[in-house]
């Protein structure tokens, strides 16, 4: 008996799962992102209260002051479910690895002028610890955020930041500066220029409200830090010493451009849900922007000398524009 299963057409009984049909208002095919995200976190009939937080349920919307009629409105415009995310990162790391290999083969990094190396050692290498802090803070959002839309995207962001910390480490290794990595860590722990920033990320580690943490870390601090370093500083070093640094920080730059889409979409959806959210987000952003500018000022001076303040101001304008686009007055 031979069977040709390919050629037959059969009528499906339904197009998608019940919870998705109800969400879409129609029985029609759903994307893999939706199938792997929407309405899947348990919301009821929990057996036990957390022994580590008995005043809340396992998953509890009250862990933030933000309220949402639908927590899945905080969806990811990149539509990253695990497969889509890991394929995107797989491609990016392939390019990055090829870049590092090429730089190594041609001696581009080791031959980098000493003046440029000094800036990289002093300004860029300590940032691996900032990425590590972001990794910790995003793991809190992944852990305590409400709904799978936000929790999975934060889990991916958390791994992305670990990847970034590792790419910066690799940059140190490529520039043949293993000792410089140790010095950069020492600076991070002791040099006055970094203590404000370190203080700030440590404060974030004890922040209670996961949404405030999301805004502070992902929108405000990174929204200033990434353009400051990966646009402004790399541009300046490229102009002086050729494009190799740009090549070896491509991952961070591409990542930031893409990650912004997610961060901004989350803010926009939360602000659109109700006026109280909008006001609260405005408050959080204003406070985080102010403190971020404070702690980044010495870093900007270290990187740009007397131009530091002006460069920082440019990236603050960019951040304000993003907030405005998300519908949040600041």
């Amino acid at each position: 008996m031979s069977m040709d299963l390919r050629t037959i057409t059969i009528e499906p009984l339904r197009q998608t799962f019940g919870h998705l049909a109800r969400r879409m208002g129609a029985d029609k095919p759903a994307s893999r992102y939706m199938e792997g995200t929407m309405d899947l976190q348990p919301v009821e009939n929990y057996h036990y209260r957390p022994t580590w937080d008995p005043s809340h349920d396992i998953f509890d919307p009250a862990r933030t002051r933000i309220t949402m009629k639908d927590w899945y409105a905080l969806k990811d415009p990149r539509q990253f479910y695990y497969g889509a995310w890991t394929l995107a990162r797989g491609r990016m790391q392939e390019t990055a690895t090829a870049d590092f290999d090429l730089a190594d083969e041609l001696g581009l990094a080791t031959g980098y002028p000493a003046a440029g190396k000094k800036v990289i050692n002093e300004v860029l290498l300590p940032l691996r610890h900032v990425a590590w802090a972001s990794n910790i803070n995003n793991s809190a959002v992944a852990a305590y955020g409400y709904g799978i839309a936000i929790s999975q995207a934060a889990a991916y962001a958390c791994m992305d930041q670990l990847g970034i910390a590792q790419f910066i480490t690799r940059l140190g290794i490529a520039f043949d500066e293993i000792d410089a990595l140790a010095e950069a860590k020492q600076d991070w722990l002791e040099a006055p220029v970094w203590q404000g920033l370190r203080h700030y990320v440590e404060d974030m580690m004890v922040m209670d409200d996961w949404f405030e943490l999301f805004v502070t870390q992902n929108f405000a601090l990174e929204g200033l830090l990434f353009p400051l370093i990966y646009d402004k500083l790399t541009d300046r070093l490229n102009a002086a010493h050729g494009p190799v640094l740009s090549m070896l920080t491509r991952f961070q730059r591409e990542w930031f451009t893409e990650n912004v889409k997610w961060v901004d979409a989350v803010l926009k959806a939360a602000a659109a849900d109700n006026p109280a959210n909008k006001a609260l987000l405005g408050e959080w952003i204003a406070a985080a922007r102010q403190r971020s500018v404070e702690v980044l000022t010495p870093v900007a001076e270290l990187a740009f000398g007397t131009d530091g303040a002006a460069v920082l101001d440019e990236v603050v304008q960019q951040l304000n524009a993003r907030a405005a686009k998300a519908g949040i007055p600041v």
Binding site: D4, L5, I10, V43, Q93, W132, D176
Partner: protein, 514 residues
């Protein structure tokens, strides 16, 4: 440092630079405020640097390999779906395995994802934090690939469409839910013993390996691909769990009694959950590859013995329940299947009496128990069914206060006697399926008095479908369970005569006719 030195960074040194060298001890905020959960369970850690990283994957390598796996997996899935692969499974009874699987497994993978995010946030050492985070995203992977692989079956067969709604409501899914709820509400170290060790190391093998092999054997390439691909992550997860146990035991001798109690508790809780997996292997796979008993012997007894012999150097003893689980391996799958068969209205999958050759297979695989205790019951039900008096048990079951399973297992040493234990706490009586569950309760009564048991909750009016009017004159608590579950009638009852059976036969006939 010159070029050659940096080139020579071995796997271990390089990995150290890429992970724990990133971390520092906070000083602007005290460490115990940044990591508030690592102390309250009583586990003493003196030196987090002693943590040994088992697998040393940096993110670039992780993304590279995982992307390759995902690319393959979705290519196979797409091809399987485009070619109506669902019609190439051995017989439509097989699809009921997927129904049970979809209801019970992806929701637990999701809990693992969230739980590992929590532990990743709470662990002080960079080594365990990174491994936990990686496991967290892996578990998102499993959760999603499982749903994606079964999604196409949902278009053609009944009983799969409401798994998301049913995950927290369906009585028989409550044991798995309570297992993960219990773990995630415990502290970070207990979670690691519960999920990282007991679940991943001791049980995942038996849960997945024979099951996936069975899927392959029954022509389900989608489930096989997804299953094996997920398993490729499990080796990492198992290693993390084992490393965590060793780490705790090496850090302080005071940790031993705590860890031992957790091992006893979670091995037992895990084996209780396995009854339904075993039932799939013995009753639901049309083509069987090995019996549950055989799988249990290879993956639990032999492997578990190797593991606990090894851990004896730390003073760890074989879990208390080990002996009882060995005795039960010849019983639980039969008791479970019979239990489900007896409740045809209350499950979104079909049941059946095995065909004569299948009964013979069971007799051969279970020479000590099947003919003596279970074959007569099944043959009796078969006669009843054929006489138009299909057995249908409508009474509310009694559930164990700890593992939430229906109390249906036998008294140790006496297969004819139902095992039943009870205890009184603060004037209230609680019931258990076993001595082990009773002991777990007595160690932490304040936790286990909270257990959500749907048969009780229903009578208290806590299981009503949305929009129920509790003031209606004819309102009776728990009277509308089918609506509460969103149970599709077509998905219930006997396989024989079901819509699935008819459709499968019709579609297959289309493919064989010219």
């Amino acid at each position: 440092m010159d070029m050659k030195v940096s080139k020579k960074l071995g796997l271990k040194e390089r990995y150290t630079m890429m992970t724990r060298d990133l971390a520092w001890d906070t000083t602007f905020q005290p460490m115990d405020k940044v990591f508030p959960q690592v102390g309250y369970e009583g586990i003493k850690i003196h030196d987090w640097d002693k943590w040994e990283d088992p697998f040393r994957l940096t993110m670039d390598a992780y993304w590279k390999y995982q992307a390759e796996k995902e690319r393959k997996l979705y290519a196979i899935l797409d091809a399987f779906n485009q070619n109506n692969g669902h019609l190439s499974v051995t017989d439509a009874r097989y699809i009921n395995v997927l129904k049970l699987f979809l209801g019970s497994t992806p929701p637990l993978e999701l809990m693992a994802a969230r739980g590992f995010s929590m532990v990743a946030r709470q662990m002080v050492g960079a080594g365990p934090r990174v491994a936990c985070m990686m496991q967290s995203v892996d578990e998102y992977r499993h959760f999603q690939t499982q749903i994606h692989s079964i999604s196409n079956y949902n278009r053609f067969y009944n009983g799969l469409d409401e798994f998301a709604h049913q995950q927290s409501r369906m009585w028989y899914l409550s044991d798995g839910k309570s297992f993960f709820d219990d773990a995630i509400t415990a502290g970070p170290f207990e979670f690691m013993v519960a999920i990282g060790f007991a679940f991943e190391y001791v049980l995942t093998n038996i849960l997945f390996v024979p099951f996936i092999s069975g899927a392959a054997y029954n022509g389900d390439m989608a489930a096989m691909t997804v299953g094996f691909s997920a398993q490729s992550d499990e080796a990492r997860h198992m290693t993390l769990g084992l490393e965590c146990i060793k780490f705790m035991l090496e850090q302080d001798p005071d940790n031993l009694p705590i860890v031992q109690r957790w091992i006893d508790k979670w091995t037992w809780r895990g084996t209780r959950k396995l009854a339904s997996v075993g039932m799939m292997m013995d009753y639901m796979l049309p083509k069987r590859i090995m019996s549950f008993k055989e799988a249990w012997e290879i993956y639990f007894e032999q492997n578990g013995t190797a593991l606990f012999t090894d851990l004896a150097r730390y003073g760890v003893k074989v879990p208390k329940c080990f002996g009882q689980t060995i005795e039960e391996k010849e019983h639980i799958t039969h008791q479970s299947w019979i239990g489900f068969y007896m409740k045809p209205d209350a499950c979104p999958f079909h049941t059946w009496i095995p065909a004569p050759d299948e009964l013979d297979w069971l007799s051969e695989k279970y020479p000590n128990t099947f003919d003596k205790y279970y074959r007569p019951v099944l043959e009796h039900f078969d006669r009843q069914e054929k006489a138009g008096k299909r057995f249908n048990n409508k009474t509310q079951p009694m559930n164990c206060q700890v593992c939430v399973s229906t109390i249906k297992f036998n008294e140790p040493g006496d297969p004819m006697e139902m095992c039943f234990r009870e205890t009184v706490y603060k004037g209230e009586k609680f019931h258990f399926c076993s001595d082990h569950c009773k002991e777990i309760f007595e160690n932490e009564p304040e936790k286990y008095v909270q257990t959500f048991i749907s048969s009780h909750a229903a009578l208290q009016g806590k299981c009503e479908p949305e929009g129920t009017d509790v003031n209606a004159h004819d309102y009776r608590p728990g009277a509308r369970m089918h609506a509460y579950w969103r149970m599709d009638k077509r998905a219930t009852g006997d396989f024989n005569g079901s819509e699935d059976q008819k459709n499968f036969a019709k579609w297959r006939a289309q493919a064989t006719k010219n």
